[in-house]
Amino acid sequence: MRGSQTPGLVFQPNVYHAMQRGIQQMVDAIRPTLGPTAGGVAIDPIHTTESLPEFLDDGGLIARRIIELRNRDVDMGAMLVRSLLVRQSEDMGDGTATTAVLLEAIFQAGVRYIAAGGNAMKLRRHLESAIPNLQDALAENSFRIAGEEQLKRVAASLCNDDEMADLIGESFDLIGEYGRLEIREDYGRTLRREYVQGTYYYSGAVSSALFPEGSANRSDMDNTSVFICNFEINDHRELFPVLKAAHEAGISSLLIITTNMSDAAVSLLTTNNSRMDTFKVMAVKLPGLNATDRIQAMEDISLLTGATPLIKEAGDTLERVTTGHFGKARRIWVDKRTFGLVGGRGDKRKLIAHLERLQRFYHTTHDHEERERARKRIGNLQGGSVTLWVGGFTETEIALQKSLAERTRQAMYLAMQGGVVPGGGIGLLACRQALQQQAKSTRDTDERAAYNILIEALAAPARTIWCNAGYDPSEVMAKLQHKRPAIGFDARSGLMINMADEGIVDSLLLMQSCVRNAISTAALALTVDVLVHVSNPEMIGKPE
């Protein structure tokens, strides 16, 4: 009955008190996950049938699991942080703990300043106006990464698992910044990687009956022609024009990519395959979960192979098939769940132009999903991919390892795309110098306060990392005062080292995102003066 104990409107100073508590509680739940010696968080099982708690070390997932806090006022602050971290996790894949501790440090210091008479709106404006300067300062300290050894070191600093780092670093050396790295659960107990040649899709044969006898549900075809359409082929007679055109073109093996195929149509193909030694046909489903995916897959496959797709929406019919509709690939494989193409014979100049268009789109779009889709398409068209198989002794261990590998993969994409800055919080610490100069040069009290708040807050991630590793942050900070900016404290070894040289780095884009998200959210939260609880949650959905 908590809802009824909370007034509908909450005013200052109760708003700040509640927001502080909510932000603090949420951030405290995620704080242990920051750094190379981070701890985990155990969460009650979601399903009552599960007996073991869920062990998490991913700030984004932890935030997602915290659905609400008991006190509705405090919950407001917590949910503000939650929504930010979930978005951060979805957009960037990582950086949630850094964002959380930054946000908390800025908000707490901001509240103190406002309580002492500062102007919240002005403070917000000055905090937000510092974001571009901070992002520039980060960029000035950034550098590009390349080469297997450097990539391995960077991966190691991101996942703190040497075996995983070796495999991920090696994989990224192969696939590059857009490449396709699949991460899958394995039945084995260790990590392993598999190189896959060519382009493949998660879409298999329309029927197991099409596989040759004794082939273990796999078909490999050389120098195969490719036909693509987005029709459902329901009547076997619809295939006649396709097969006739293939015969006219002298095709000896054909892959039909179609939305679906009836049993009768499949029977026609199996009959053909059993009777014809000189002409084999395989059919797979057009890849993609939705119309957009399917259209894009058709476009990509047609560019790869040189096939001209027949599109239902364009009024095409199978009766119009000619020999010119067929594309070709050097090698094709099909199994129950996937099919792949190697050495497509499409026009390479068109394919390169297509890749350049996708790359431009990737770098200019602000839509996260569209960007990811573009990256996957680029990666898939590069001619190869790597699959990392993640094993372990228990399901929990496998799930944790897989989650870690996925976050590392995402961070590696960002690191390769935008470069890296010294890690362990040192990249953020190095930005303080730029702010200190700006603080000195301004006469505006609120502006100076904003800079000072940020100067202090930028140390929060590093302090948290040191604290999580069992060191006294003040002591470490004092030692660092006399070191060069590139020097940082390695929380694992307890030594002062050159972070960049040792491969302890953070992605520039990730750090810029952390800074932007933390400051803008904290600045917004500082200007909240009233909380309004619109209804009693217990009443929602109850019958009258």
Partner: protein
């Protein structure tokens, strides 16, 4: 300059010489060897293989590699005995071979193919693995390995639609964006650390920084003629479609050494005092320089 030898036995795709001085010619009718500096050529018997086409040849010391359809032939005793190493199916046609400068120690070599990209060996040619990450165009015409390969791990592949560079020993490739567009690149060579590339359109480019930046080489009146091969000797020699050209020391001035009016030269090999040129029409001719 004058031709002093002529044999007409199939298209000559490539030429090479071993440390002991034996010359090899990869031809449409097989691999030929010459022990008399090109005066006479004999078909090299390769294991039990008969009627094969040899499309590429490269040597290091007394180790000889020759490319054919679906396989690479390997000899460690200057062509006395051969082993045949099959490549992954469908059978690729080997179009180019290059051995690393430290091949004897590291065993790294690269083979370009007509439709299947690049195959790399790291064990002296006993096994060849296709590594084509990023190689959008698998139609490879030429390959070249950096003179400082042990340090920079850099390999170049010239393809039908562009030039590709690998900075990790041929395991993955990056397309280089050149001002000349997506021309078919046919020839690659290193001269004193400078990379030279020649295209079917007659563009000749040089790079002093492993492909990071490029400068065009002006071939004067021979600009626009397909460049089939580039060979670095005391100077750079460019085998254009109708002439053999020599570049000046600073790679700026081209002078014609020999004109080919009736035949298309495809391959060239330095020899004492001159070069041997192989033609599409099947001739092998020696020229004094």
């Amino acid at each position: 300059m004058m031709a002093n030898e002529r044999i007409d036995v199939g298209v000559v795709y490539a030429l090479a010489s071993s440390e002991a001085g034996r010359l090899y010619a990869a031809r449409a009718t097989g691999l030929y060897g010459s022990d008399d500096n090109g005066a006479s050529w004999q078909l090299v018997p390769v294991a039990d293989v008969a009627n094969y086409v040899a499309t590429a040849v490269a040597t290091s010391g007394n180790t000889v590699f020759a490319g054919t359809h679906g396989a690479i032939m390997r000899s460690e005793d200057d062509g006395q005995s051969w082993s045949l190493i099959g490549l992954a199916k469908p059978a690729p046609l080997v179009t180019a071979l290059a051995l690393s400068p430290t091949f004897d120690a590291a065993g790294v070599a690269v083979a370009g193919t007509a439709e299947d990209g690049v195959f790399v060996t790291g064990d002296g040619g006993l096994t060849w693995v296709p590594w084509n990450y990023g190689l959008i165009d698998l139609d490879v015409h030429a390959v070249a390995i950096s003179p400082n390969f042990s340090g920079d791990q850099t390999i170049f592949a010239a393809t039908e639609t562009g030039l590709y560079r690998s900075a990790n020993g041929g395991r993955s490739w990056q397309r280089l964006v050149l001002s000349t567009g997506q021309a078919p690149w046919l020839a690659l060579a290193f001269f004193d650390g400078t990379l030279l590339v020649g295209s079917e359109n007659g563009d000749l480019l040089q790079s002093d920084d492993l492909g990071e930046s490029w400068q065009a080489v002006d071939l004067g009146q021979w600009q626009g003629k397909a460049i089939n091969q580039i060979v670095a000797m005391d100077a750079v020699y460019v085998l254009a479609e109708d002439a053999l050209l020599r570049l000046g020391p600073d790679l700026t001035e081209a002078t014609r050494v020999e004109a080919f009016l009736q035949q298309t030269p495809l391959a060239m090999l330095p020899r004492p005092g001159g070069v041997i040129v192989g033609f599409a029409e099947g001739d092998l001719m020696a020229f004094n320089l």
